[in-house]
Symmetry: D4
């Protein structure tokens, strides 16, 4: 059994690396959005031409990024969405809703102070974790039946 | 042609009333989440029994509310999602993602200062409006082909 | 908003009547399996001809009953499944799994002594109730936003 | 033709081993839930933190297990569900209903004394077997067209 | 509960009338193909222009008829397919396969001398009846729970 | 049987009126895009604000129009697409492809000089008509089984 | 591009061999039902136990065979259905209907004297061939763009 | 992550070669229709027999070509549709509509003078490019996150 896992959300800490390194040796294919913030913001105009209007600048970029994120989510068995401490992170919640509607297994990674604000998102999830290592433990258990010591 | 329109998101201003009143006479069925904040927070424990742990208190409520919100979104032709000035509003972005994955026509109602933060959400929408009256104008145009004078 | 509610499971007590009576005045269409135990067991052979072998006697009946139960579940917004104190009730759990796979909102009605045995079923539900009156309270809240006093 | 076969249900006897050993040499990928009873019961709290309330203890575990069981069933061509002599086994019947709703080919493995109680489950199946060896014979026939001597 | 029932197959006897008359008073909407044999054969060329080649003459008619038959089958809850004594009736078997793939409840109406030839079709059905009155009895039971005296 | 018919394509002649008038008395609900050319071109900016760039001017309008056209096509049983003598009419062909992918019954209304250019579109259709009256004849036949005299 | 091709229908001539041999070197995976007539008829009782009643004897076999045929059809890109000169071949027409409802590309292989009887089946096909070699030519063209010399 | 990309539309220039060569080294599987114009026009009659009537000559070819194009589009993650300067290119717009209805990521490749005529098509796309090299840049960014220098 190969697990396809999409890692959505916060891009300012190394949580994706913690998970992919912790999961070494497991039969998992990880995918993720482009996490280079500048490239992600500017990909639309850098490739398809500049826009005077910031709205359309953003729009072109968001649509190009959607090619990757939708494929990632649609092919995933498990979608992990991390909410960080800062920023509004509406794209993270959007991805969670998108994944939920497609029936994906959803794991939310967030701190307790966001529990109330994330209650509708958490209610669609199969697990709410606090640490990347817990996500690794879940993935290992799902694939091998082994619990952490 | 009857249009089913689900009004998701911010519950602290009267934008839903502005839209439903503005749309009087049009063949539209509006649905929405429970907008009584206290009832929405406590419905789980009020009906199914108290919880010591605040997390599960919230969880039970969020799951009961999901019965209504999922039916509303799944039966909608158009999902309008309003992002207000305050709070994190992750449930609004979650609903937008859920609706997008189901292929619903999405209208986002938000102010320009959120344009950058909402760019992924907007990229999945067929219209981004600033005022409730614009949503009414869209719905009237969609149903009757009439533009505002 | 009209809610279609399918009442699956235990057929030996009057829980369906309690719910339908408690929900009077709400915009709900209730459906249910045939609850006449003898008719339900014998419908296949009574209509399509006797069978020597008890297995095929049961089989013909179960297939005729499936015409009704599948339509009921497939058209439902909410599927309520009650597990009683007696019998194996595998058809109730089967209906719950069937409804879960179709993405229906699931309410399980059962006593606490079955919590452990039903944990996989409960994990697919949006509410676990102990009394029929709680199911009525949920349905009323979903439709009207009103909590019990 | 590679056949994906999910082996659901009873976890107290070696029926899964009998099938996988009997099917050696056939082009089959077998999957199954975690069959370590203690790990399966405790995986939620072992990974995600303890719960005071036994209900939520069970709930967290059942949801983590669902990540594996849903992937297993959704990717299967054939779902074999075994009902043993003991326990209520509602999760087995739930899996059967889930698989039936997804249109999977269902094989039920059970003893004749359960025929009446399982008639609705059996009516959704393409085969009802009594012995693991019969399941092997079906799988071999499906893949190779060869009947047992 | 309103049942949508599509009556497919043999068009040379009055079995459709027997069923619709027998089912008077039940909440059923019956649909069927055009049963005027000549009109059904010639509808394509009569409306869209003559064809020299008999193959395309038939083709144009079959495609126009498909507008009606596909709508009928796709909106049906129950598809009844009658196989008569004469002709090859491949369109009846085609409709049965089409309905089966869409997950419709299938009732086959046929005489025992065709049992072996129809075994694959019957295996996809929830009931195999010999007389139109049995189909009426099934529909009445499904809707009202009442068995024939 | 009520037929939902969407009339897509050319907006410069009165073919829609010919069909709806010819079909009077038949149980048909007709829908169509907004056929006021100026309103259709400008709806985006008229409601949501002007754009300096003509591309985004058009884009905003096309997205608002999509709310109506997608609902129309998705709810249709039959999609009629007319190709006129002038203009490129790529939106007509787009609608035909969209309808085909959703499995709608497609009727193409076009003149013979376009046969070769439309061969891929015609190959997805159940009828290719030359005159609006033929579309009426098809719809009457589908609903009543009556051929033109 | 790998093409999955299911070869359904007549089992008394070597048309499958002609196609698979003719298609050597092309990137095609062929599947087919069990074509050993005796095994196909008896597989149910040979594996799952004898039946006194011939109807259930046939039924058990048809259901076991359905495990293979449904997987074959559901995974196919192209379903070829051959109608021979003899027998009623309702299972072939059933497979064609099943494949059509799933949106598979259908190729019918039949002689002209069956054209009228097969007109509804042919109307759902993308090609009607007379000889196995024509099926090979189609498959080669689809994969390589090469026409027969 | 492997990207499946279908290249639809104009067949008279070398844009497909420009894209496939530019994308060398990227993990992409490209598919396309048969681009040999003569073979594409005549494939139906060359394989399945001549037709006197040009309409059916074209029809047989278009249906054989549909076997390839539908598989290509249905398996694609990204569908690129190029509109050239000449011809009506309704099949290109048809493919775009077909891909849009299936939820594929759509990239349109066209010159600015077609912007108004293609506005409905562009509104369904995630990117509108002017040059094949921009398509390559998008695909590289989607797969690697790297922007052009």
């Amino acid at each position: 059994m190969t697990l396809n896992v999409y890692l959505s959300g916060e891009i300012h800490t190394d949580w994706r690396e913690q998970i992919t390194e912790g999961a070494q040796g497991l039969d998992i294919v990880f995918t993720a959005p482009v996490t280079d913030h500048a490239a992600s913001d500017d990909c639309g105009v850098a490739i398809l031409g500049a826009e005077d209007n910031k709205y359309w600048h953003d729009h072109k970029g968001a649509m190009v990024n959607a090619i990757r994120t939708r494929k990632g989510i649609e092919e995933a068995d498990v979608v992990v969405v991390r909410f960080g401490e800062k920023y509004r992170q509406w794209n993270a919640a959007f991805d969670a809703g998108y994944a939920a509607a497609l029936g994906k297994s959803l794991i939310i990674l967030q701190q307790p102070d966001h529990d109330h604000a994330l209650k509708e998102v958490d209610a669609a999830a199969l697990a709410v974790a606090r640490e990347p290592s817990q996500v690794v433990d879940i993935l290992r258990y799902v694939l091998t039946g082994t619990l952490p010591c």
